[in-house]
Amino acid sequence: MAKATKITDTEKEELLSESLDVDTDGFGKSAATSETVLDLRNLQTQFTTKWGTVKAVNGVSYNVKRGETLGVVGESGSGKSVTALSIMRLIPSPPGEITGGEVILNGRDLLKLSEREMTSVRGGEISMILQDPMQALNPVFTIENQVGEAIRIHQGLKGTSLFQRVVDSLKKVRIPAPDSRAKDYPHQLSGGMRQRVVGAIGISSEPSVIIADEPTTSLDVTIQAAYLRLLRQIQQEEGVGIVFITHDFGIVAKMCDRVAVMYAGRIVELADVRTIFNSPLHEYTKALINSVPKLEEKTGRLAQIEGQPPLLHNLPPGDSFAPRSPLKYDEKDASIDPELVEVESGHWVQLSRSSVADFDKYKHLVNY
């Protein structure tokens, strides 16, 4: 695998040492390259329920480049996690079903693979870091056993060489005394350390893409900061592409190169992180950013998004955000199914009169 950044041995030593001293934001520069590793095209996943069909993912397209972090933001129920599970082909069926689209990982469509081939991809080429480290680890197996499992399956290592790889993986996630820690059980580690072990399993087989599904929500702020920094360092060393699912715009500001904002199973805006913060076009994106109090200054009254997210079963066509949009609009405009359009290079917006204030400026890009 191509290393995105070369670092010297001495630098590595410093990074690995536990004495984390003063560091001016250890995040460094973005490691993003232009080589696409994961490409989602018009992915559709639906669930059949007794209330009707829930289109949880309704035509989602995004791509991740080597060494890049793509943030996927949205409320609960916006489809961000179901998209991730669809990529991994972990949607329980029934009731769920991937009904269309392509998931291209390193040139192969994952949706066309057999279940057997998919098993070798999962945890191999692509891996997932889950939200709750307490639940992601099995309490009756040692750390060595659980980190080793992925390596044994994907690389067929055994005995000492397997143990060596386990220790290497634990070293990569900066776990102190990895040799002895490998023999511990999950309950013997703190929450932050446990989440690092989950991370070690994630990177153990050198994947090209890691899907991180809110990996820090259950952690304390200081431990969260350390963990995010670690993810960024690993990314720079390994050149892995990360899909970071979160609802926290602070994490987006700190970690992500590009951002996809999801609402009701669709992407409403996708752009690089600075465009999203400096010149968002969709009202939902604007509202999300303005509804968060700022730490840096005394915030005046918060902007709030009125109403609730829509129910997804039998969602009518049209702009799903319209009922919560602060803009004045015509019922007719809101009923048109909006298209995701590239309004400027790399800046995609779901254009509708009801949710985009500057609609008239970009009207020529759509035929409604």
């Binding site: 536990e18 004495s19 984390l20 001293d21 003063v22 560091d23 001016t24 934001d25 250890g26 995040f27 409320e75 609960s76 703190s190 932050g192 304390d220 702020v221 200081t222 431990i223 969260q224 900061a225 350390a226 920094r229 609802h247 926290d248 715009f249 602070g250 994490i251 987006v252 500001a253 700190k254 992180v273 600075r274 913060f277 509202a287 999300l288 509804s291 968060v292 109090p293 700022k294 730490l295 840096e296 005394k298 915030t299 009254r301 918060l302 902007a303 709030q304 998004i305 009125e306 609730q308 997210p309």
Partner: protein
């Protein structure tokens, strides 16, 4: 109650002459975790809260921040009477709660209410919303059914719900709406203080602002005082007038919220600020991590509790390495535990610029 003599003593960190509804003085909550079944053997204590004093001013918000295990939630539980105190006193309207008459205690419990973190587990799934919100009225007042029903209707309207929703069950509501129900229940008895335990952290981002704004509005309308327990510094800065930063059961920095955020003095506060997430990708704060992890609160050393986490050198013969250091007022309304190893300065490099 204004005529009663104020029996609250002074304490470091508490401004004298504050019109406080609820005061805490030298509060300790220790759990005995050491001795065996028969009480034999060496006693070891988990010192969850160790000598904490603060005032909650009428109509204002006081915030408690810190990492998990710092004792902020235990403090709140003790205040609500869900846990006994080991030592120290709680004063309501200048009166010590421990020595109050039965009627006084009832008044205290009526006037101090709570909203909890998780709106999924804090509402009884088998009760209709009307009964949940009306229950405090049934217990603490002798209003008729019709009066209670009417009051529940007004309360639901006040928190942005519809009176007809009183007939629904909690599962029929979304997280934000459930938290509104929790707020309505807390408001039912017209309390003077509401203890908020992480009221928005379990909610979706788009809903958080709704609830925070609701709380701020209700505070203005009813002159409510809040005790806010939170770990998100931005939430604290938005909601709180005064605040305290806790570490290992001890307040490390306390005072006016804006003063603390403009110039955080304690290294621990700076570490929390540096770890907090920025609100814009162009904001790059210097970031440092404290060595080690949060130490166990079981049998902490007699000296400064922060001693084992400070990145600066500690002189083990220093007075404050062997004795608990007090809060010192370094500037007006800004109190800090002042030891040679706890203050962040430009030179030491542990000072975080927020701007």
């Amino acid at each position: 109650m204004t005529t009663t003599k104020n029996k609250v003593g002074s304490a470091p960190g508490c401004k004298p002459g504050v019109d406080s509804v609820l005061s805490v003085r030298n509060l300790r909550k220790w759990y005995n975790v050491g001795n065996n079944l028969f009480g034999i053997g060496k006693k070891t204590f988990l010192k969850a809260v160790d000598d904490v004093s603060f005032d909650i001013e009428r109509g204002k918000t006081f915030g408690l921040v810190g990492e998990s295990g710092c004792g902020k939630t235990t403090t709140l539980k003790v205040l609500l009477g869900l846990e006994d105190t080991t030592e120290g006193s709680i004063f309501y309207e200048g009166e010590d709660v421990a020595t109050m008459s039965a009627a006084g205690k009832k008044e205290f419990r009526t006037n101090v209410q709570a909203v909890f973190q998780d709106p999924w587990s804090s509402l009884n799934p088998r009760m209709r919303v009307g009964s949940i919100v009306g229950e405090p009225l049934e217990i603490a007042t002798n209003q008729t059914k019709a009066q209670i029903k009417e009051r529940v209707g007004t309360l639901l309207e006040e928190v942005g719900l519809n009176p007809y929703q009183a007939n629904l069950y909690p599962h029929e509501f979304s997280g934000g709406q459930r938290q509104r129900i929790g707020v309505a229940r807390a408001l039912a008895l017209n309390p003077k203080v509401i203890c908020l335990d992480e009221p928005v952290s379990a909610l979706d981002v788009s809903i958080r602002a709704q609830i925070m704004n609701l709380l701020v509005d209700l505070q203005e309308q009813h002159g409510l005082a809040y005790l806010l327990v939170a770990h998100n510094l931005a939430t604290v800065r938005y909601m709180c007038h005064t605040m305290a930063v806790m570490y290992l059961g001890v307040v490390q920095e306390m005072g006016d919220t804006e003063r603390i955020f403009e110039d955080p003095k304690h290294i621990y506060t700076n570490a929390l600020v540096s770890a907090a997430l920025p609100s814009h990708p162009d904001i790059v704060r210097s970031e440092f991590l404290l060595p080690g992890e949060v130490v166990s609160p079981i049998d902490p050393p007699p000296g400064d509790v922060f001693m084992s986490r400070t990145p600066l050198e500690v002189d083990s013969n220093h007075k404050w390495a062997n004795e608990r250091p007090p809060l010192v007022e370094l500037e007006t309304d800004h109190w800090v535990v002042d030891t040679p190893w706890s203050i962040a300065t430009e030179e030491s490099g542990f000072k975080v610029e927020l701007k």
